[in-house]
Subunit: 248 residues, 2 copies
């Protein structure tokens, strides 16, 4: 993991503490990525055992969020960070909240693994698996971008969510036809539908993490600003260079 | 609005700044409550105009979140709060994020207002309206509890969410029967189902705000701790008195 600009601190101890928190965030991210990967596998292969392991593993994700949150509050109280250090801590507090909710999403996806699908309906899990792989990749990439505070990557991933949304809309339409063709399948198809929605929400959460990267790097809140301002962010038309240049 | 323990500050300016942020949070809460109330009305009375006003109003909620967030980061950087002041600021940062998402929920509920339901299916909106009223009350109460940092109220509201969940489960079952009876209604019933889910999620977000009240008052993170620890929190069996006593 790169050290960003942390080396500038006079206090080596402060430096070490910030770095320790970042390491914890990356560890939590790695765990959540594994949980999501396992959840998608469990759903697709109808693996009840794996699903149960994911559900049990969510407690560890939750515990990591609480521990990192405490460490962040402690570092604010003790070191009184300002400027980019404070933005880093605030970005971390918000990012781990998204990671925790992605963990909850993995837990919800696992419910599909316990559903008994007919051979015909197992077919629909193929498109769910494809949507799942898409969000796993997004999560993987956004964690990588967060580790390096890579603005360009964050912008790319932010845009990627539109594709996830389109894929999800297609799945909803497909699932509706299953229900219409055979109303007896409605309960189990609804389970798949809620699963699809949980997966789609993970794309949104990755997009939120991108916004925290924007905030850290540019020192400005880009939430809710819409496409044009984002375009400006991407092409640098607003004339303000990144507040921090990531060290590669 | 009560002043909590803010009067203890040597700096009257700091005091005023913190109080100003709290006032902004309550204003944001009031707006979100109005948005939710209007969304439920628009859904129930199929009022397209009102729905459009709610959708347009969401931008104001978003702008308030960004403004309060900035004020919080500024006060951390400038005043370097510790102990209960820092917990208050952290609780506010997290609470406004929940409020913003409740605002998004109101926006989503409004989509139902634009759906064309048959006379028979308008019936199902009655149960959605009842669920909606339930969450409006929860939101109203939790904002009130937040203003007074009232631990007992927060615990009561936290428990209330179970009833919302049960009501939601009942609605899902009811909506499934509609779909099974007449598969042609599936698309519009699904819209109602997603609406019900958005309403149910608002109960979860109110529950999250309760957890931030616990955190502020008790100085300890009660997330993910489960029913027993909450029971202990309620009855004070853990022997630690509240870190701060709200001034009524």
């Amino acid at each position: 993991m790169e050290n960003l600009n942390l080396n500038k601190h006079i206090s080596g101890q402060f430096n070490a503490e910030l770095e320790h928190i970042r390491t914890q965030v990356m560890a939590m991210g790695g765990l959540v990525e594994q949980q999501l990967t396992d959840a998608i596998s469990a759903m697709h292969s109808q693996d009840e055992e794996l699903a149960k392991r994911v559900v049990a593993g969510d407690a560890k994700v939750n515990a990591m969020e609480v521990a990192i949150d405490e460490a962040c509050v402690r570092i604010i109280a003790k070191r009184q960070p300002t400027a980019s250090d404070l933005r880093l801590v605030i970005s971390i507090i918000k990012t781990i909240s998204e990671l925790e909710r992605i963990g909850d999403g993995a837990d919800k996806i696992c419910r599909t693994a316990l559903e008994k699908y007919s051979q015909q309906h197992l077919q629909m899990l193929v498109s769910l698996e494809s949507l799942g792989r898409h969000t796993i990749q997004m999560l993987h990439d956004v964690l990588d971008a967060f580790a390096r505070m890579d603005l360009d990557e964050a912008i790319r991933i932010y845009r990627e969510d539109k594709k996830v949304d389109q894929e999800y809309e297609g799945i909803v339409r497909q699932l509706m036809t299953y229900m219409m063709e055979d109303p007896r399948t409605i309960p189990s198809v609804l389970t798949a539908l809620f699963c699809a929605r949980s997966i789609e929400r993970i794309g949104d959460r990755c997009q939120n993490i991108c916004e925290y990267i924007f905030y850290f790097v540019k020192g400005q809140d880009f939430r809710h600003v819409g496409g044009d301002a984002l375009e400006t962010l991407l092409t640098g038309k607003n004339g303000t260079p990144p507040a921090t240049t990531p060290t590669e």
